[in-house]
Symmetry: C2
Subunit: 421 residues, 2 copies
């Protein structure tokens, strides 16, 4: 097992052991945001038949080739085509058919004259300009041809894809599964949110924050509750999570007297791949996996630190990209920005710091300032953070006015103030 590795090494290790999950079939109602896992071939053309793009008259362009302002040509309106009914009559020489937007073009006709370009008088119209063949006609298959591959596996399904799939008559589609993530908290001092926080007890908030982080990317959290500090209790809780895709333990993978999680994991067959990452917050992060004995079964395991901020930051940096990769996403990382420091930051060398910052736009630049105290127990500063600023391991000072990279957590910071028109 490796220890004291860099965040980049840790991320590489995590992703090289993270599988892409299998597929499941979901209703179109539930497919948006999921990754398509099949090739979609059109079972029909779109539009399915030549149809009118306008309310007007279906005509034969040959009849109107000589039409002009001085000598309009008169046609007899022989019949009307209601929407959604295939016309059973043909437009003959010297005839037109009344047609509404979307109605199928009748045989014989090869163009539509808009109603505002025809002068109607009883059962006749007069047309004063010659339409081009195909004018105001939507051709069968102009959007999609029957038999054509319209979507490939790997597409992240958006509302436009939902419309397209619906038009093709698809009600269900194969997508990548969402990971189920078992969450366990550990510690005799923990109580559930409705419990009594007196006598040195604290609320087990980590699992709730981590569950929200899971849902944010579309994974399914399963909360296994608080494991007390005994090997038997920890084993019982962890076993309940073995059927999930990912097992996340918050606290208990450190080196303290009551940190039994590591021993229990190894007893259960988990191979730990690293423990300890040169970062702050978050040093005591462990990663391992079950099922390297050839059957490929069993969850990935993340042993997150117990401090609330450390747990959230290590989830953000390592668990989140792994979950996105499992779901078939190819975009695994937050938007990053180069920002100007609005204040001087200092630290000891050796570990990369992930500094919680707020962002502001000032003079065409983005300026980052610390949310205040960076202690790993200070959950409020995590709640207020719009971004994590990367303070490189070797650096000891980032001076006000210097530039650094931030990972943007708050997507609304990227929203525009106006629609652009």
């Amino acid at each position: 097992m490796q220890t004291g590795i860099t965040p980049a090494q840790a991320l590489h290790r995590v992703l090289e052991h993270t599988p892409v999950l299998g597929t499941e079939t979901v209703s179109l109602r539930d497919c948006a945001g999921r990754i398509l896992a099949e090739s979609v071939v059109a079972g029909r053309a779109l539009p399915p038949a030549d149809n009118s793009a306008m309310d007007g008259y279906a005509v034969r362009t040959g009849d109107l080739a000589d039409a002009c302002e001085a000598l309009p040509i008169s046609l007899r309106v022989a019949f009307e085509i209601p929407a959604g009914v295939a016309p059973d009559r043909e437009v003959g020489c010297g005839e037109a058919a009344r047609i509404l937007t979307g109605a199928p073009l009748p045989r014989g006709a090869d163009a539509v004259v808009r109603q505002e370009d025809a002068e109607r008088d009883g059962d006749r119209i007069r047309v004063a300009s010659a339409p081009r063949p195909g004018e105001h006609v939507r051709r069968a298959g102009e959007d999609v041809l029957a038999g054509e591959e319209v979507l490939r596996p790997g597409v992240c399904l958006a509302p436009g894809h939902v419309g397209l799939l619906t038009s093709l008559g698809r009600g269900y589609v194969a997508v990548r599964q969402r990971p189920r993530v078992a969450l366990v908290s550990g510690g005799d001092e923990l109580v559930e949110p409705d419990g009594d926080p007196g006598g040195g007890r604290i609320v087990a908030s980590n699992a709730y924050a981590l569950a929200a982080q899971c849902r944010e990317v579309g994974a399914e959290p399963l909360y296994l509750g608080i494991a007390r500090d005994t090997p038997e209790e920890i084993e019982r809780r962890l076993r309940a999570g073995l059927a999930c895709d990912v097992l996340v333990s918050s606290a208990g993978v450190s080196v303290g007297d009551r940190d039994y999680v590591r021993a229990v994991l190894e007893k259960l067959g988990c191979r730990l791949l690293f423990w300890g990452v040169a970062m702050k917050p978050g040093y005591p992060l462990a990663f391992g996996r079950f099922g390297e004995n050839g059957n490929g079964r069993g969850p990935l395991v993340f042993g997150l630190p117990g401090n609330p901020v450390s747990a959230m930051v290590t989830f953000e940096e390592f668990v989140r990209p792994a979950l996105l990769h499992m779901m078939g996403h190819t975009h695994l990382y937050r938007p990053t920005l180069r920002v100007r420091l609005g204040e001087t930051l200092r630290k000891a060398p050796g570990r990369m710091h992930f500094v919680r910052v707020v962002l502001a736009r000032e003079g065409g630049e983005v300026v980052a300032r610390s949310t205040g105290g960076q202690g790993s127990g200070l959950l409020r500063s995590m709640a207020e953070a719009q971004a994590l600023l990367l303070f490189p391991a070797a650096s000891t000072e980032l001076r006000e006015g210097e530039y650094a990279t931030v990972q943007v957590l708050d997507a609304s910071f990227l929203a525009a103030d106006a629609p652009g028109f």
Copy 2:
């Protein structure tokens, strides 16, 4: 009623008539992404009591003031403090207490010596350096003081807020309601996705795409089905949507023979505020509202064009910001970018075009290219669009190499290729 207004005028009209919805109370499990509608005052301090940041020994700094390498000071380990149990003993002169991370500091002690900085021998430890008062102690209230306002109304709740609220013992929180959006399709030619598309019929895909657009922002779509082209049928469907916050009709608000929606809406008491926006796709867009007679009840009404692309683009430009505003969001617009044209675009003057484009990063710039045919029936080009390029009303040409503004629909385009470390 206004007609032929610009997109900017239309958006202004929509937002000036769009209310912010009332509040509802939701479980913390469901609050992420919602807008907080209450002021949250901490009912307790965080941490609730002074506690140890490390595994080690609780000590009195006065006892160790003279400790140094040459003359370590020996203390008796008088008792042990298990996690989650308030210590009932006091640390006396010359004493220490074994303490684990997170355990409450006993009376008498004012600092913690890390276990790696103490040499244990039986029931005694030897300490070779003097700790500062408060060292390795997390002070009660250092994150949050009891009685302090920790969150204000209007915050968009993120996982960090969930953790903070959970720590404070909150299980429920007041947030802005999500709009219920009634969706009606109109047209005799329409069938549901499992229907027969023969004989000139087409699938009513708009409502399904619009429902996905609703869900994307967190609104709740309610699909009222296909209204056939009779005033009675349209009235019956629209009445079913009057209890919603927003009523969206796709097709039927145009000027064709069978466009009864407008008349029915007015009969039901809807005041139409505009019809027709100088944009393409999407000209025949109508907007109105019920309930300006003082009681403020009844939905906003959007009559979207029937063409699939027109329906989705007008939803994107007008319905989406209105829904976000209703939910209490202050960031209503997509991220915008200045991009270089990868090809020359031409159009007639008079209307702003929303050109469906794909984006690519080339030489430090973002380059936009049309997704191909821009016909308003070409749903595939909407499915493939990563952004909408704003082609100003007065312009007739945007040449390759010129710059224009795009609204980014595909958030993954903004994701970074690497985590930044």
